[in-house]
Symmetry: D2
Subunit: 360 residues, 4 copies
């Protein structure tokens, strides 16, 4: 288990837990983000950083931003080294975490999966969208969906957390107050979402070359994006009737950031939308409702774990529009994963996450 010692923090004394951390598949963009946050996390200690392809290479040779901060080299994934950790993060492509999670849990290691393996409760839906046979459907029930603002209590007790997708985090945080309050027609929701290119990951593909995406804008995955069932699952949980959702992702010529413009028809036009949103997130450290009339920009949360929201009713009509922005690699991935780790290990939720977006 995690090492414990005490230190004084002014007058308060609190057990400092040194959490031994492993990361599987740390050569992608969510992996290097995990490294950025964990390298400076005062209560975490990086023990194992795996990459089959780059085993033996110093982490800082691949990611020179980590020089002076991470001394480890990548190692081939092995149950020996991983099972000596308190928690293992999977920053792997879909289909990997599900093959190792069972054994890690048996070894007493907690697991936070940043891939999609444990996000969908209905294994048939998962297998339909991800075109694989699930390797351990028996763990789907236990897995806690790690949207901290919604599942905080369950996460605190979880052994296995399914870290939400980037789009699902923004879309759910934006729609949930309206659905919970029952003030919109759940039948025709529209989520017009835009993502920076890092959402596509770090892999050698023509479609995400600089010269292919820069100075251009388009919708993509117009036949259906895998985050659709994840979002629908989350919204259905709080909606009286199953939601009808059109989810359309777009690619923005920038590195980081997701912006979602969410449209719904108001069933109750007397509701004070601004008040509803402010009340919903008043106590959240990482969700922030802007004053009325402002529109959130992705740069305001670039590199930070914050999600900024705004709500408006154009021309006073019966359509409500919610705007949500987040950094897809942070609140949409690695930052939320660290937030989950903090909850799972009883350290203050914001530990290691006090990063201010660098502007400009």
């Amino acid at each position: 288990m995690a090492g414990v010692f005490f230190c004084s923090d002014g007058l308060k004394r609190r057990a400092v837990i040194v959490i031994k951390v492993g990361i599987v598949g740390a050569t992608g963009y969510t992996g290097v983000e995990l490294l950025r946050f964990l390298a400076l996390h005062p209560e975490a200690e990086l023990r194992v950083v795996t990459s089959r392809a780059d085993a033996g290479t110093p982490v800082s040779a691949l990611f020179p931003n980590l020089r002076k901060y991470v001394d480890l080299a990548f190692s081939a994934p092995s149950m020996d080294s991983l099972s000596a950790c308190d928690v293992v993060f999977f920053a792997t492509p879909n289909g990997t975490a599900m093959t190792m999670t069972g054994e890690l849990l048996k070894a007493g290691v907690k697991v936070i999966d940043l891939s999609a393996d444990f996000r969908i409760k209905d294994v048939k839906v998962w297998e339909h969208w991800y075109r694989m046979t699930h390797a351990c459907p028996e763990l789907l029930d236990e897995a806690v969906y790690g949207l901290c603002e919604i599942n905080r209590a369950a996460i605190t007790k979880a052994r296995l957390v399914a870290n939400p997708g980037c789009y699902p985090t923004a879309v759910q945080l934006g729609f949930l107050p309206l659905l919970r309050a029952g003030v919109i027609d759940p039948g025709s929701l529209i989520a017009d979402c835009k993502s920076g290119v890092s959402g596509a990951g770090r892999k050698a593909e023509l479609g995400i070359l600089h010269c292919e995406v820069s100075e251009s804008f388009k919708a993509y995955a117009i036949g259906g994006h895998r985050h659709l069932p994840e979002i629908k699952q989350g919204l259905d949980l709080v909606s009286k009737t199953p939601v009808g959702l059109t989810f359309m992702p777009h690619l923005v010529p920038m590195i980081r950031g997701i912006q979602a413009s969410l449209y719904a028809r108001l069933s109750d036009t007397r509701v004070d939308l601004q008040q509803l949103f402010e009340d919903s997130y008043r106590h959240e450290p990482f969700v922030d409702v802007l004053p009325a009339g402002q529109s959130p920009e992705t740069r305001s949360v670039r590199g930070s774990n914050h999600c900024q929201l705004a709500v408006c009713r154009p021309q006073g009509g019966d359509t409500v529009v919610v705007f949500a922005v987040e950094d897809n690699l942070v609140k949409g991935a690695a930052g939320q994963a660290v937030q989950n780790m903090n909850l799972m290990f009883g350290v203050p939720e914001t530990t290691g996450l006090d990063v201010v977006a660098a502007l400009p």
Copy 2:
């Protein structure tokens, strides 16, 4: 009037019209685009290029891309020189064209206004949105709205053309086939539109600095954008009942391009949407419907006068999504203006506009 001579074009003989052109306010981005197209237009001759602030400066000193192509210097606007032209383009801020157009028309000069002065038929609506008193409301009736694909016949005979806004061009071309066919509910249209930064013009403002817009994405003008009444006016003309439209513009960190994702609820789900769109634009030289399943990218039309469209029905539901892309400075401004000029002077509509987007 325009000079006329004859030349042989293979076997065909056609009168070549040398159109004497003036441009008022050519130091903005739509102005320099006009210069790019007109400098190489085989039947146009640049005579006067005005700028009060830069009078005396060679055009190519301000715009070195025009070295070897434009030898003129900017001159202060004067009725003397402008009235010697066959056509005058206004590439000015809103509120200028309306003060000079009457006199030019009287002098027998045709006018193509790229600003918003003559786009809205209802002067009260115009004055509400543009916060000015209109200087010549008596010309609003005569002004022809220059969306070539819709008003071709009227443009051919027009003395005064109101060149459409950039967003209105894309949104109308996308929604019109659906409204005309009567297959959507006109009451809840959503136009989620994204524009490159050049749409904001060339002016010294903090909000469009490179460091303010690059690597970020946001909705803007969320309280109401001036293109809303222009779009609504155009859609209402073909809709049985007035449309209900939510129009939300967003700023993309790129120079050129507009992408519109248009959402509507189908009232008739049996319609063959692909066929409907292909039929609607089969004979249009500058509107192009992509094969089913493709999503248009702004870069495919960057620098060119084409608008590319696609249509789909996500998950086979009752929501139809239309995608439209154009270059906001070309089909959304200067290119369409030249297209209008061609129509007004009886030269082939594509003359001077055969430009292929440079990819990448």
Copy 3:
């Protein structure tokens, strides 16, 4: 041979040559640029566009910017179809053109190679830098180095043209006036060059992903870039003593454009540098010397075949600095290739190349 007919061009009559064109390897960025220029070239006709991997695919499916302009599909390369062309362009990786050129020449087809196979006269130097055995060293003597401004006469008579590299075009055009005039010390030339990412080509590699190059700047190939021997070969031809050259390429987070800042020590500080440069390029259609005090920007020539130069002497010292900008895909590749074709077939040198850079 090329088809010939006559048309009247005002009063002049000139034989219009319809040049039948083949392109080998047209799925890269120089390939699609060739297509852009040749599709609108009034005296060229695209006959064959090859790609082994994409055979059967319509060209416009891969490059939607060419919809309505190119109706061909990619075909597998075959000597049958290529030998029916008047000229074949190779837009292939290094090492391909040299395996097919001999046979094409025998079939009476002219060849313009945009790769490096025929650029270096000394086969040992070539084999050292390109790490291959040359397949037809016997053609190296015949091959004409296609820097039009230097070798115009030879190009006019050539069967085989080695189209220059992108950096070598800019660096040679910048240094040559100084070396010819004998006013600099040739022993310590420095070429600090910067290129947009398209210079690296269209291939699935991590290093040129948007997220790897955007918002960053670096020198690359610091151990030695393959354009070094090509530049040195060109400069040595006009220098009294072999040049000592430090060539350092850098990667700019933009798609297109090369800027070179060239430094040399003046051996003669009385020379009128501005005059020297203006005199050197006064009659060149595609090389343009800016007025004293101006600094050329890559965007001024983006998409066009122009090279803009400027020269200065900082603080009046003994160091001369020359600035050169070009579009690496145009004057640095496809545009210059078309310029070479025009020379080889006796059509006016600027035919099909009258493109004004779109600004912004």
Copy 4:
């Protein structure tokens, strides 16, 4: 004076100094960077943030990235509030700090000036380049040039620190090891430097609009940049003979980052350059020499206070090339200013500066 209390830091006990901080002119990019670092600095407390134009506006309204981190509003600058601080940072245009510094020093307040007012020792040189009369030349002698790696001891005792310019930091850190070791000819140094656009500041000017700088590259200030005398002053201090320096700045289409490629002729080609650089900076927390053969990228230090260097000798010739990268707003401005503050107040030099660059 600064408040002092004690806390335990594991076994060590150290006085925690709460430094009361004022910032004059905090609405520019160096200002908001100061706010980012100081908001999370454990031993600093923001007291006064001035802006004449935005007095009364909450800081987080202008800079939404600071929501939840900075509660202050901008106030008009007043000696009353500023003189209650322990240190005042000037993030103002040149010419402001020199009018207030004298009074602040008299009030016992330390001053760190991020503008150029106190960087040049020779007032005539300053007045020539900055085209102003200096308001307090009598302070120039006392002012310590705040390049921490060079002047650490003096900074520790300073009341007034002139924070170096962005280019001068990179160029001096790169050239100094060579000049100190006496292994290069100081007579013909070339500094080809490239900067992101934020170096031009946050002001409404056409030349730094997104559409003017994006997708382009150019040299600028080719007639002479103000950082030239500052660099020369620094290099002359360690060179046996005055240096001859050609300094050429270029604008990169990115927000942050400076890269310098520095060229010199080796007078001693036997020196082990890699060893020389590693030895020079072995103990520096914020200067990092990359392994031989690597080239530093600006993104590796984006948002962080690190400067990364590399050195090479192309083709084993007698030219040495040094590469330096830094974030112009951090090590080139606000980060170095905080580093200076730490030194001046005796807190560990890296306090508040442990930020890892977010990659990608």
